[in-house]
Symmetry: C2
Subunit: 161 residues, 2 copies
Amino acid sequence: MTRPITQSLLQQELKQRKPFRSVGHEATVGLLRTADVVRRRWTETLAPYGITAPQYNVLRILRGAGREGLCTLELANRLIERAPGITRMLDRLEAHRWVRRERSADDRREVRCYVTPDGVRLLARIDKVVDEADNAAVRGLSRAEGRELIRLLDKVRAGLR
Amino acid sequence: MTRPITQSLLQQELKQRKPFRSVGHEATVGLLRTADVVRRRWTETLAPYGITAPQYNVLRILRGAGREGLCTLELANRLIERAPGITRMLDRLEAHRWVRRERSADDRREVRCYVTPDGVRLLARIDKVVDEADNAAVRGLSRAEGRELIRLLDKVRAGLR
DNA sequence: CGCAATTACTTGACATCTCAACTATTCACC
DNA sequence: GGTGAATAGTTGAGATGTCAAGTAATTGCG
């Protein structure tokens, strides 16, 4: 538990003089900041296509769902998000004609959502640049480190459940 | 590059059948989702105190700044955030009397911000539960794994700069 | 069968965050 | 010294998230 001679990278970024209170604290702050940076990079990547990152995620999930589509709450579950946000995002996606919604005939409480052909075309144009952004995120890591990062993040989530 | 027999944890969470397109993609998605989970836990921890996570961060930074306080843009830099959000958050923090603002005498363009004694008292009440939340985040990890996670996150951010 | 509880949203209100545009100062340079 | 450029911050408008409360359809149970 010796005092390090140099500050950690994160300490310098935060312009902090004091060392972190604990490994947990430094890991938490590092995690949130890193996610912010990645999110921002994603946003920049998508901006030229007139779509936001959360909207892109929804479209991609709907494409994955295929012909059957998904209902609103199922979408919310996959995004770990509450329904109200989804409803309003779908309103906007529908206005762009990237998504189509209709009441389910089986259960008229449900609203089933589908990507439109326009939406699929948009995704096709975007996929490559998103792949590039994803790979850029792990540019600094070796393949083994990338996998180790994935494993550690899995463990963090498992510990929080 | 062999196909894994079992799906990764994240693949199960996302109910995806296909393996991830790349290590970069899985790491990116894992990072964003893990940060969301940690952020949510933080929000729950702070809710009983009537303060949001971003507000708590601002207060903690201002406490760290001490008697000299900080100007708005300096706060924005430390939070990796744009100024407009900070202005409005400070409006709310000031309404709660946790923060005090005044035009700098040196440079009348600047607005210097300080925690009030009320703010300091609030932080004192909160510090412990936040520490606990931070430690809970790495509960699943050994000490060595925690440090490894910090190192890998540092590398990701360094690679994105 | 009928009615209460549950489910699947939807709407309203508020806190973040973002970009763009605007005001007030201060700085730099002739 | 004065004027144009840069800096610090605010305001407006839109997207995302949250909770609370309301509506419509379905389920469960006596």
